[in-house]
Amino acid sequence: MTTSIKKLPDTELVLSGNGACGGCPATMALRIVGKALGSNAIMLLTPSCSVASMGMTPKLGYNWPCINITFATAGSSASGITHALEIMKENGRLQGDLPTVFAWVGDGGTYDIGFQALSAAAERNDNMIFFCYNNEAYSNTGVQRSGATPRGSFTTTTPTGKRQPKKNMGLLMLEHKIPYVATATVAYPGDLYDKVVKAKNTPGMKYIEILAPCYLGWQFDMSDTVQMSRMAVRSGAWLLWEAENGSISFNNPSSHIISGKKVAEPVDEYLMKQGRFNRLLKGSDAQQRIAEIQGDIDHEIAFMRERKKITI
């Protein structure tokens, strides 16, 4: 059973008063992560909205020791910290329980510039949780495309809509044979909470990706963050799943879409609510472009359904 939002601990590691936009999905997600991790954790960040939000030197809006490191190096830097803590613990220079080392990184720092370092940290199976909060663009620099930007989406560097589909980063991490991979999003806080708790209690490399609908980049009303997150899941544009030691299971409601018990809602309504898509969908080739986007979603659902069956 998924933990109810009413049962989440009162612990707050995201302090009130920080620089994020109202309705920021990254901050919302981090708040849930804080409840799951508690205070014995060390946080790494790369240049991103989450750094811009954390407060200016010497202030700090996240109640962990936080280190903002070079953009490409979340994976390798987290490896450095985790090895340092382990050896200092081994030779008695660090007392108490080992802190959880976690990286809190945008999709740019995960899919693109940080991919190499993340891949290597995963291949070494170094002990950390790598979170990607995925707002499907470089938001901090003013919304440019990333490898996580879906086809059709407007960004400042895809002025007529992106022509390529996004990567399936969760799947790429799964193929690194790490002990735990999960996807989540802010409309399902209990699901996110449970996944973080599971990751915290699993040694080795853990990857959790959180879809983070960002009103600024996606162009919707900032009060609709959670609704947008829910629509992404219900349309199948975002699938909730986890994989323990390589074996995939889907979480409600994605599990019903995968099993065929429920049909995914057509993507149109989800797209029309977002300025990043709807300007394209007013053009003469609108039907074709919606069909392409729907095609990408259908492909991912079908592919993940089959991928789950591979258990060897």
Partner: protein, 376 residues
Amino acid sequence: MKTAQVIMDTGTHAAALAVKSARVDVIPGYPITPQTSIMEAIAAMVESGEMNARFIPMEGEHSVLAAAVAASAAGARVFTATSANGLLYMHEVLHMASGGRLPVVMCNVNRGIFAPWTLWADHQDSFSQRDTGWLQYHCSSNQEVFNTILQAFRVAEQINIPVMVNFDGFAISHCLMPLTLPPQEDIDRFLPSHEPEWRLDTAQPSSFSNVTMAAEYAPFRQMLSDDIMAAIPLVKQAAQEYKDITGMWDGDTIDTYRLEDAEVVAFAVNSMAAELRLSVDILREQGIKAGLLRPRLYLPFPAEDIINALPQNAQVMVLDRNYNFGHPGGILASELKNVLFGRRNDITVKNRVMGIGGIDLTRRFMAAEIRAMMDE
């Protein structure tokens, strides 16, 4: 009391033994010739249990230094090594280490940089990282490499600034020379365990390197600049105390040979400076009053020590194994002129670039070059 042990060893292996003696905690690494054998030796010592440390096999040098910086921020004593393009690939993180005031020690085994591709020594790699805020030593023997790594940790941890220990590929890295290993208890006395003032500590959550407005940023940078200059007395003190404990001396900020009465002074770093002692002897035999001044510390550039050491009216022959692109000649000459200007107008500076990409620099060749420069 245990006595020192003398072995025959290569420069890279001497470096690895120094890292072991320094009781380093974390060593991220990545192979590149001629540095690779440092990492191989450390990996082997960690694997066998001879070193109580973590070796992290990284996927590239940018990540190597990122892991080093982060491990240092967690409170560990950290070492790594690289060469040439590996050092250049680290460039962004070099600044992160110094700006972040993290006392990482790194060997750079000097090698020419590509294109075109070369494997052999020159000093374009380390000198081109001058403005990254790292202290830089340049060493001219295997023993000096060993001694300097220990001194580097001492200085780095005193002022929270990373230190680069440079030495030449092949001429030092791969050549066997006698190496004296002081007893471990002496080294422990010289280099106590690392107790950082600040680290990532869950008992005291603090931020590192978040957005910093100019009013705070500017003083941080000023402090870094001031503290780099303040390293000079600490470098001298480290060399002196190392000598008091081990009896070994390689110079402090500078190293000199037959300098007191010299009229012609050779000025160079690294292995070519060791060879230049022999060139000085050749020139002396020819009746030329030659001497040698080797800046052991390149950054901070030991201006006062150089100004004080140079004899009156000397002609200084700067032999640069690098180019100062956009200017005629090399980088060392330009640094030297910079410090002499307005302070020692009696000194003449002449400059030649040589030994690029590992071209062999023999004592006779360099003696002849210096003679030729005298007539210029």
